[in-house]
């Protein structure tokens, strides 16, 4: 998947983009719908799950948000939990970009586009979760500056809209430019993507910081009103990003038969080995502060970890998360396991799920329990919420699969206008 091979520079540019760009899109479309029986089965399965989600959303629109189990006490639930986690996944993809471009890691440079495509898919997932959480998505246009009333800079949510969409556009540009240039057989012009790559590194940090600020800025909820949330978000983003990418790179190598250098996977594993421990350390700092101080401000933490007044809905969730993260952390340092592919992949899956719980349900829901007036109302997601959640993730994985497939085809020269000359 090398991107800027020197031999490309000899190719002449002939047709105008007006001709080649539609041909490029058509080729992308064809690649998306053509593949092995396994690919068809995979995409059909994902589409089926996504359609279950679409149907759940249509019903939720017709009946109202009453189909969720959210209440005025717990007014954000599984959707916003997944949104928060998804932003972390999108930001975590930068853990391929930094080694590739800041440390000039050649192996990582070969496959860095996988990280950028993950960022795109993850942002689509995030935006979908926000939209399904809205009571009136038909009024989304009220947020468009100029048309509606965009409450910037006061509302942190407007900042989030800017950084998430900005991050999406930057990554669409970088990946789109690379794949299209290769498709038409033109050499890459560094000034058309290198500045964007560097911006994307800073931007990746910003998306998760702003998402943390959504919570930390609320003085009414002590569980969130805590400066450690933003650093924790970044740390756990750098857990989920590499964890997902390690598994994805193995899958791409095995299933798509594309050359993935070991060096890239090794670097990601080294990063993960450190970030899982940083994440656990920040968690421990948080837990100590909450429990040693005690008092009413620690009520949410009590509810989360131990249960409060006989209510303990989140206790199994959070201890599962901690157990998974601890297992992963140990597997990644033990000499007997840390270099064994099976164990590393297991560690990735463990910590991915662990952070999904910890940062999702474990971070969003306790902010509401007890409520600002100290009422204890518990929350368990409804079937509608689970269907929608599964549907959105299926859509995201579908976008990721198809985009990686397109990138693989074009960048290895299997599709493209200049492809015959390269091979």
């Amino acid at each position: 998947m090398a991107v800027d091979s020197p031999e490309l520079k000899t190719l002449p540019a002939e047709d105008s983009h007006l001709v080649t760009y539609p041909r490029f899109l058509w080729e992308c479309f064809k690649i998306s719908f053509d593949g092995s029986p396994l690919f068809y089965a995979w995409m059909t399965g994902l589409t089926a799950i996504a359609l279950v989600g679409v149907n759940a959303w249509a019903n939720q629109m017709a009946e109202g948000m009453v189909l969720t189990n959210m209440t005025d006490h717990v007014s954000w639930g599984l959707y916003i939990a997944n949104f928060t986690f998804g932003v972390g996944l999108a930001a975590g993809a930068v853990m391929m970009v930094i080694p590739a471009y800041l440390y000039d890691d050649r192996d990582m440079h070969e496959v860095v586009i996988v990280g950028e495509l993950l960022a795109i898919a993850a942002i689509f997932v995030c935006l979908a979760f926000v939209i399904v959480d809205m009571g009136r998505p038909d009024r989304l246009w009220h947020m468009i500056p100029g048309l509606g009333r965009f409450h910037w800079p006061m509302s942190m949510l407007t900042w989030d809209v800017i950084v998430l969409n900005g991050y999406l556009l930057i990554n669409l540009h970088i990946t789109g430019y690379m794949i299209y240039s290769r498709f038409v057989g033109k050499p890459l012009n560094r000034k058309w993507y290198i500045p964007f790559v560097f911006v994307s590194v800073v931007w990746a940090i910003s998306i998760h910081t702003v998402t943390a600020f959504l919570y930390t800025g609320l003085g009414s909820r002590p569980f969130w009103n805590d400066a450690i949330i933003a650093p924790r978000f970044i740390a756990s983003a750098f857990v989920t990003g590499p964890a997902f990418l390690i598994v994805a790179l193995h899958a791409i190598r095995e299933l798509m038969r594309l050359a993935i250098p070991d060096g890239a996977i090794d670097t990601l594993t080294s990063i993960l080995r450190v970030t899982v421990w940083i994440n656990l350390f920040l968690l421990a700092s948080e837990v100590f502060t909450q429990f040693y101080t005690g008092g009413t401000h620690a009520a949410s933490a009590h509810y989360l970890y131990l249960g409060l007044d006989g209510k303990s809905g989140l206790v199994p969730w959070i201890w599962t998360a901690i157990a998974l993260n601890l297992c992963a952390a140990v597997l990644l340092v033990l000499p007997a396991t840390r270099a064994v592919r099976g164990w590393v992949v297991a560690a990735c899956v463990f910590t991915f799920v662990g952070v999904w719980i910890e940062k999702g349900m474990g971070m969003v829901v306790p902010g509401f329990v007890p409520s600002t007036m100290h009422e204890l109302v518990e929350y368990t997601p409804s079937l509608t919420e689970w269907k929608l959640t599964a549907g959105i993730w299926a859509m995201g994985i579908g976008i990721f699969t198809v985009s990686v497939k397109i990138a693989g085809h074009v960048l290895t020269g299997r599709s493209g206008l200049g492809s015959r000359r390269i091979s």
Partner: protein
């Protein structure tokens, strides 16, 4: 069949099936779009409506209420009165926890009947504590109970309201007379305000409010008690459709103990001013810096 045409046929079949499945999955959405007219969809923010546009919107809401709910109502747009700043005080020594205020709010403001919604919740507090951790709202016994006192909580109409700051579309704001209002036709239903409010003063319409035609209070305001659409946030508005016409809020009128004192903070002869000048008043969660306009005091 050749390999190519067979593949194309399978792909075409797959695509058709996919499209049909998608259409089928989206089908329930029709119920949502049926209820939404183009006028409603394109309606501007309340503060951007010209007098003629606003007039049209008010009449349309009246027609919609008649068509969809079978109730004749009049929807007005009462504006703040210059020289009036509303404030509210509540005497905790005399409040007996009867919840007549919450009930009056329920009827005045056309709340959802199935959830017995109200903007007011009355906390039964433990003698000797101001901590809501030891309070309950769902008490079901004769009041006042021994060892308890009662604290009704509704929107405090904060001067530095976190809910207003966080709204991404300016669907909620503070009016010149101090009342924090919501444009129900502009709210996108993200519920960020609900997360931001330290007093649990906001409510979300999880479904279409249920209310019998004959029970609908026909005296309505655009920014206050008209029947709210599904999927938007609502809150106490100091009954602005009454108070801006010189009447008391429904809760103050209903209170049998005289615990509630409402009025114009700028009027030196008003009862609210007398309370603020002569009683040791306090506000809820003062440390958060929200500067509420709703005061509590003990006699």
């Amino acid at each position: 069949m050749t390999e190519v045409t067979r593949r194309a046929t399978v792909a075409g079949l797959g695509a058709t099936l996919g499209a049909v499945a998608f259409a089928k999955a989206m089908e329930p959405l029709r119920h949502f779009t049926e209820d939404l007219s183009l006028d409603q969809f394109l309606q501007r923010h309340y503060r951007e409506l010209s007098p003629e546009d606003l007039e049209r919107v008010l009449r349309r809401i009246e027609e919609d209420t008649l068509r969809e709910r079978g109730a004749h109502v009049s929807v007005a747009d009462d504006r703040p009165i210059p020289g009036v700043q509303f404030g509210y005080a509540l005497n905790l020594s005399v409040c007996n926890g009867c919840r007549k205020c919450a009930e009056a709010c329920h009827h005045e403001n056309n709340h959802d009947r199935s959830t017995n919604q109200s903007y007011i919740r009355v906390f039964e507090m433990e003698q000797g504590s101001l901590d809501f951790e030891h309070a309950a709202t769902h008490y079901d016994h004769a009041v006042p109970a021994p060892g308890k006192y009662y604290m009704p909580v509704q929107c405090l109409q904060c001067d530095d309201a976190p809910c207003v700051a966080v709204c991404p579309v300016e669907a909620t704001w503070k009016e010149e007379d101090g009342i924090v209002v919501i444009d129900y036709d502009w709210c996108i239903g993200c519920r960020y305000c609900e997360a931001a409010c330290p007093y649990h003063a906001r409510r979300f319409n999880w479904s279409e409010p249920e209310i019998e035609a004959e029970e609908i209070n026909p005296d309505q305001g655009y920014l206050s008690n008209r029947v709210r659409p599904k999927g938007v946030v609502e809150k106490c508005h100091f009954c602005l459709h009454r108070t801006r016409r010189g009447r008391l809020p429904a809760c103050a009128e209903a209170c049998p103990t005289g615990a509630r004192v409402f009025g114009n903070l700028l009027d030196p002869d008003s009862p609210i001013r007398w309370v603020l000048d002569n009683k040791r008043v306090f506000v809820l969660k003062e440390e958060l810096g929200t500067r509420p306009r709703f005061f509590y005091f003990f006699d």
